[in-house]
Amino acid sequence: MTTSNASLTPPEPNPPVDKGSSGSTNALADQPWRGVWRDILGGNVVRSIVAIILALIIGMLIAVFTNKDVQDTLGYFFSRPGDFFNAAGSLIGDAVRAMITGAVYSPTRGFQPFLSSLQWATPLVAAGLGLGVAFRAGLFNIGGQGQMLVGALFASYVGASWNLPPVLHLIVAILAAVLGGAMWAAIVGFLKAQTGAHEVILTIMFNWIAHWGITYLLKQPLFQSENAPGFAKGKAVQATAVMPELFNGFGLGFVLVLLAAVLYWWIMDRSTVGFKIRAVGINPNAAKTAGINVKTVTVVTMAISGAFIGLAAATQTLEVHPTGIEPTIHAGIGFDAITVALLGGNSPVGIILAALLFGLLKAGSVTMEIQAGIPRDIIPVIQGLIVLFVAAPRFLGFLPRPTGVKIRDRVAAGKVKS
């Protein structure tokens, strides 16, 4: 478990540059667009798309071969193979149709399903950004569950028990969630910085501590709903702290997480803190030599990571479940966010797109289960496979290796030539 920090960053998707073909700058000047097709086919976008398609195919195969109707046709496959393909085809057709009506557009409800996909994606974006911060510093924050729980408790307390004017109340409640998540994560960062204990094991333990702690606290009069004696359920959030619906089921939450993505971009790419985080992530020893206080950066990174995850808790508490939180409020988002950040390559746009994809899958899987009879538990399998394929560049070895030359340099070289 004592891996060095640097090795905890997700592996660089690009394999080592092939020296022979990347060529010297002269070769670039002669033929600026040489090998560009390799960059496109071997690039991250194509790689991700191939991984997604591959995972979807495997998911479909699992669905086909576990389906009872299809299994029946397998019994006499060699006498009438057509039946098998008909049954499989109709199952896949049903599944795809159900996914689309559930996640994008349905003839009866218009684009309402797409809005619900955005709803599913909302906490994933926020938590994915949180994971991204940690990954950039070479930290692996599996503590999303605990951080969300603490954030949700804070938001629920402020939202239910404080009396504040309308807009201010919502802002304070959101900030409380952010603070809660940041605090819980910062404790782990502090312990890691001070003692060198591994953050993976610490965050797992803190998830459980938060789980039992919040289960206990939600049964105390300070937090417990009056309507659920004996159950761990929080008080309903006051109307002034509920996130408003902007139109037809599309809430403020999604706008907030988009703003958070902009903030993420600014923190990571423009601020000093972000520079330090990235420096520590690339090489902690070099960062230390350069005068960066690695311990402080560890604590700050975890705090920022937890703050984004706290925002995910805020949308869950103040938008999705305003009637009162339960210890299951995290809904596995902390773990899903790992896959979001990995698929999104820790970039803000990538994280939004990855969260959107998983949001679509989640929203679609609900109707898929009802209409095509495929249990929605297939979605985490597909999700996991996508990440596995994206994280293993060597697995998709049939894709060409990128040349490692930046498009910007190609354009510049082309200009010099002309």
Binding site: T3, S7, P10, G196, I204, G384, A391
Partner: protein
């Protein structure tokens, strides 16, 4: 200004000793805190008139023992005094820069746990034998999980996927045992399922160099999804055929099992617990006394050196990761064939992560890891007891204790927990 302030480090008699190692106060402080908790909460907050009745009988033992009736407050006061004395003794040892004996800490822990039992059981009946028997049963899959983590991590592959391996074992054993009507087939299926999960782990972490923690987390996600999917798609529709497994029988060992206390605790379990009794000593011996063990440890500590002397690093890692899957798979069968008798979604409920914690707590040593797993099992069983006797302490707070203890262990209160040096790093020639 600064000159008027007294120097921060006044010259003390100790100053010539600064060349010596710094004194380590962590353990005495921790023991002191625990002793104070025992004194202030377990002892002084009790009603002096209460007694704790400790029942030493078990249904399987023909001999009837009289229950132990202890005056709760007095017992705990005595225990607390002993603990405070030991904490003071460790402080003295720390001052003299002497090593604090491990057995002493173990004894302290035992006293503290007894005080806890006496406190929770004040005014009630504590089924002591049940408490220990249950502990061993609950710990069994945890021990298997820890041993799975051990063989993998000692070879340098971080195994977060223990949860997935256990769950795959639990699922496969329930399915196959139901379909064949034989628990032996169930165990074999669990073994195969664990190995299959390991193939994915090994392939992606050893051969494709993917970050091992990421692979582990993702594998857990996939296995949870897949087993839940198959459960709702397959098992739930036809319980009779797919989810009513043949469970293990308890095999009380003749004679030995009728010894009071010891008999039911150690000698009337199912085959899987006996397997555990064999597995742990076997692994301890193999790890430190065989060629496989030496190779495994060298590959985990310094793969390059191992490679230089002709050990095939990645082959050893592959073998160990597959072995890890086999061990965890067999352990996972306990969740279905050993207890409930049916598979349920996420039946392992995060126990794989606890097994991992036990491994780290136990400093990657088979025996210590087993003890740590037993501690988690005890905590879990004790929570049940506390709920049953209606203790005045909420069961949620008791549930937090093992995790807090693990955190304390990991941050170095019980000595630094340092894993194999090359664990988590893919070996790339």
């Amino acid at each position: 200004m600064t000159t008027t302030v007294t120097p921060k480090t006044p010259a003390t008699p100790e100053s010539p000793e600064t060349a010596l190692a710094p004194r380590k106060w962590k353990t005495p402080i921790l023991l002191g805190v625990f002793a104070l908790v025992s004194l202030l909460i377990f002892s002084l907050r009790l009603d002096p008139s209460l007694t704790t009745r400790i029942d030493l009988n078990s249904r399987t033992v023909p001999i009837e023992l009289p229950p132990l009736v202890l005056p709760s407050m007095l017992t705990n006061l005595i225990l607390s005094t002993l603990m405070i004395a030991f904490a003071a003794y460790t402080a003295k040892l720390a001052y003299d820069r002497k090593k604090i004996p491990m057995w002493g800490i173990a004894l302290f822990a035992a006293l503290w746990v007894i005080a806890l039992i006496v406190w929770v059981g004040a005014g009630a009946n504590v089924p002591f034998v049940w408490l220990l028997t249950g502990t061993l049963a609950i710990s069994t899959p945890l021990v298997f999980g820890s041993m799975a983590g051990l063989v993998s991590e000692r070879a340098g592959v971080v195994n977060i996927a223990i949860e997935g391996q256990l769950l795959a074992g639990a699922f496969a054993s329930a399915l196959v045992s139901s379909m064949t009507g034989s628990w032996v087939a169930g165990i074999l299926a669990a073994l195969v399922a664990g190995v299959l999960v390991s193939v994915v782990l090994a392939l992606f972490s050893i051969t494709y160099w993917v970050e091992q923690v990421v692979v582990g987390v993702v594998i857990n996600m996939i296995v949870i999804g897949l087993t839940s999917y198959l459960y709702s798609g397959l098992m739930a529709s036809n319980r009779e055929l797919y989810n009513s497994p043949d469970t293990y029988d308890a095999w009380p060992i003749p004679l030995l099992s009728s010894i009071p206390i010891i008999g039911p605790v150690f000698f009337s379990h199912s085959i899987i617990t006996y397997l555990m009794f064999i597995l742990v000593p076997l692994l301890t011996w193999a790890l430190f006394n065989t060629r496989w063990g030496l190779r495994t440890r060298s590959v985990g500590e310094h793969p390059k050196a191992a490679d230089t002397v002709g050990i095939n690093v990645n082959r050893n890692r592959w073998f160990n990761v597959l072995l890890s899957g086999a061990i965890a798979g067999v352990g996972g069968s306990f969740y279905t064939l050993g207890s409930v008798g049916a598979f349920n979604q996420e039946v392992t409920s995060g126990q794989g992560y606890i097994a991992l914690a036990a491994l780290i707590f136990g400093r990657w040593h088979p025996v210590y890891a087993t003890l740590a797993a037993l501690l988690f099992g005890f905590a879990s069983n004790f929570r049940t007891l506390a709920t049953q006797v209606g203790a005045n302490v909420p069961s949620e707070l008791l549930s937090m204790v093992p995790y807090i203890v693990t955190v304390l262990a990991v941050i170095g209160f019980v000595g630094q927990s340092r894993g194999p040096a090359a664990s988590g790093v893919p070996y790339i020639k």
